[in-house]
């Protein structure tokens, strides 16, 4: 059990460092899509909610889990759609100017 906890802390630490290094390189140009994309990825919390709603361990857990699925799924769907819509708009200058 203690070993598991330590492993989890390692994972958190390394993921945070990777996050810093990768996200530092994102141009301020794309900071709005960055926020909507990380928000969509964060909604991976839905996997916890799915298990909660599916295990049916108690009525409360099922209800809360189902509402949590709704909240997270709306973030996944909405977050990916709007991020892609935004990124589609970013176009470079056409190389030869008329």
């Amino acid at each position: 059990m203690k070993g598991d906890l330590l492993t989890s802390l390692y994972v958190f630490l390394l993921a945070a460092f990777i996050g810093f290094e990768v996200i530092r390189r994102v141009s301020p140009l794309l900071h709005t899509p960055l926020m909507s994309l990380t928000n969509a990825l964060d909604a991976i919390a839905v996997v916890g909610a799915i298990i909660l709603a599916g295990e049916k361990k108690s009525q409360l857990a099922t209800i809360l889990g189902t509402i949590a699925i709704v909240a997270a799924t709306s973030n996944i769907v909405g977050g990916f759609i709007i991020t892609d819509r935004m990124l589609k708009m970013f176009k470079a200058s056409k190389a030869p100017k008329q």
Partner: protein, 465 residues
């Protein structure tokens, strides 16, 4: 038995693939040319993780899951298709939904597990629901303010900071009591309730101009609460996703604070909008103003123009007219770029999205440092709906409340033109000495209408006048 173990290992492998795809997704976002591939990687990772989870052996009933997924998709589609001007409030709302999910799962886990909760688990669970709870209501408040269903002006009262800190302290004390004895079930709802109220109280004193920092902070909190949930559920997938989101929000918060020369605590507890307006004490100083015709003449004679947009441009919906101006000037051989201050608008990168939507090529959207270097060689700096981010008092007036804040040095250009409705001070209530400089021209009027008039003048004169 072995079947179950193998099945769970299979799901874990899928999660590992999802984690790799999430990291690649953010890596590809670093450049506009690969960014859309990044979204695709994120979507693939998400799909793999969700489908894998559906195969989890412990699931006995798929009805709630199906209802949740379908309802969530029905709500998510319109939220993904809001107008670009509504992106800040949509983002705040999505932080609220993310935090809601985390808080609900944490709450369900508490009631399922109590009183057999280890001290560590109870600690991270408390962190999860306190952060989740305050992010939920705080983000709802932020969304309400941005959507203008709530008053945008900061609301402050005496002893506000004391009340807020006391509430946070009480929530932490309750959490500590639960950690020591998780069987005190009656305490749990109080902890959540206080976190929810704290979120509201935290955002009440925050005004519109501080929104970029606050949205970034709430983003970070949402990520950290999801990572805490990962510890509770012992899910590496959630820990990684939460850590990535938390890191992203943190970096953005630091960027925003630096761009305002303020600390987090100052943003959250500063009550920036509450400055006494000293404008009354000041005599009316002379300013020079110009008409659209004169502005058009100056712009068409320029070789290099930098346009500095601010939130006012978004409010006036002037970005498409600005694009017409950009086209008209570019056609005449004028070099037009945009100087974008990190806190211009209501969230990080807000101006870039609006200008990209108006079809302005992204290589013309420059950062503050990039335009500042060239400012002395710039013929015209045109300020549209920005105020405090161009205030030279930040550079040279130690008594100014914004002293030290990095600004776009428009006053160093040969000519500055500021489109503004009136001489009323900006959000922070600070007078802008820029307007009284000899090289400054005020263009009084609505941003959209005025830019439109300049474009009309430019196209009218194109025949050679």
């Amino acid at each position: 038995m072995t079947g179950i173990v193998a099945g769970e290992q299979f799901i874990e492998v899928l999660y590992l693939i999802a984690v790799a795809l999430f990291i690649l997704s953010l890596k590809w976002l670093s450049s506009p040319s690969t960014a859309r591939r990044g979204v695709f990687a994120g979507e693939a990772g998400m799909l793999i993780a969700i489908v894998g989870t559906l195969f989890y052996k412990g699931i006995v009933d798929y009805r709630g899951i199906a209802i949740g997924l379908v309802l969530g998709a029905i709500i998510g589609v319109p939220l993904g298709n809001v107008a670009m001007t509504a992106v800040p409030q949509r983002t705040a709302l999505s932080h609220a939904f993310g935090a809601l999910c985390v808080t609900l799962v944490g709450t369900a886990e508490f009631y399922l597990r109590t009183p057999n909760v280890s001290r560590f688990t109870m600690s991270v669970l408390s962190l999860e629901v306190i952060l989740g709870g305050l992010t939920f209501t705080g983000s709802l408040m932020a969304a309400g303010k941005l959507q203008e269903v709530l008053p945008q002006r900061p609301i402050t009262y005496k002893g506000q900071n004391f009340v807020n800190l006391a509430m946070l302290l009480v929530a932490i004390v309750i959490a500590a009591m639960l950690v020591l004895d998780p069987s005190r079930i009656a305490l749990y709802p109080w902890m959540v309730l206080i976190a929810l109220i704290f979120g509201v109280m935290l955002i009440i004193p925050i005004g519109g101009a501080d929104m970029p920092t606050v949205i970034s902070l709430l983003n970070s909190y949402a990520g950290l609460s999801a990572a805490a949930m990962g510890f509770v559920l012992d899910s590496k997938l959630l820990i990684v996703a939460g850590a990535l989101d938390g890191a992203s929000g943190f970096i953005l918060s630091v960027n925003m604070s630096k761009a305002m020369n303020r600390s987090f605590t100052n943003v959250l507890f500063g009550g920036f909008g509450q400055l006494q307006t000293t404008a009354a004490a000041q005599e009316a100083r002379p300013v020079r103003s110009a008409t659209a015709e004169e502005a058009a003449a100056i712009l068409s004679a320029a070789g290099k123009v930098v346009i500095v947009p601010g939130y006012g441009m978004a409010v006036a919906q002037a970005q498409h007219k600005v694009r017409e101006l950009f086209d008209a000037l570019t056609k005449r051989g004028v070099d037009v770029t945009f100087g974008i201050h990190p806190v211009a608008g209501r969230m990080p990168g807000h101006m870039n999205v609006l200008l990209a939507e108006a079809d302005i090529p992204y290589d013309k959207l420059l950062e503050m440092d990039q335009v500042n270097g060239d400012m002395p060689q710039t013929d015209v700096a045109l300020v549209i709906g920005a105020n405090d981010v161009t205030n030279p008092a930040a550079r040279n007036d130690q008594s100014s409340p914004i002293f030290g804040m990095p600004i776009i040095d428009v006053d160093k250009a040969h000519t500055v033109m500021v489109i503004k409705r009136s001489m009323a001070p900006g959000f922070a209530g600070i007078d802008n000495p820029l307007y009284y400089l000899d090289n400054n021209l005020m263009l009084f009027g609505d941003a959209k209408a005025f830019v439109g008039n300049i474009v009309k003048e430019l196209s009218g004169n194109s025949g050679g006048h």
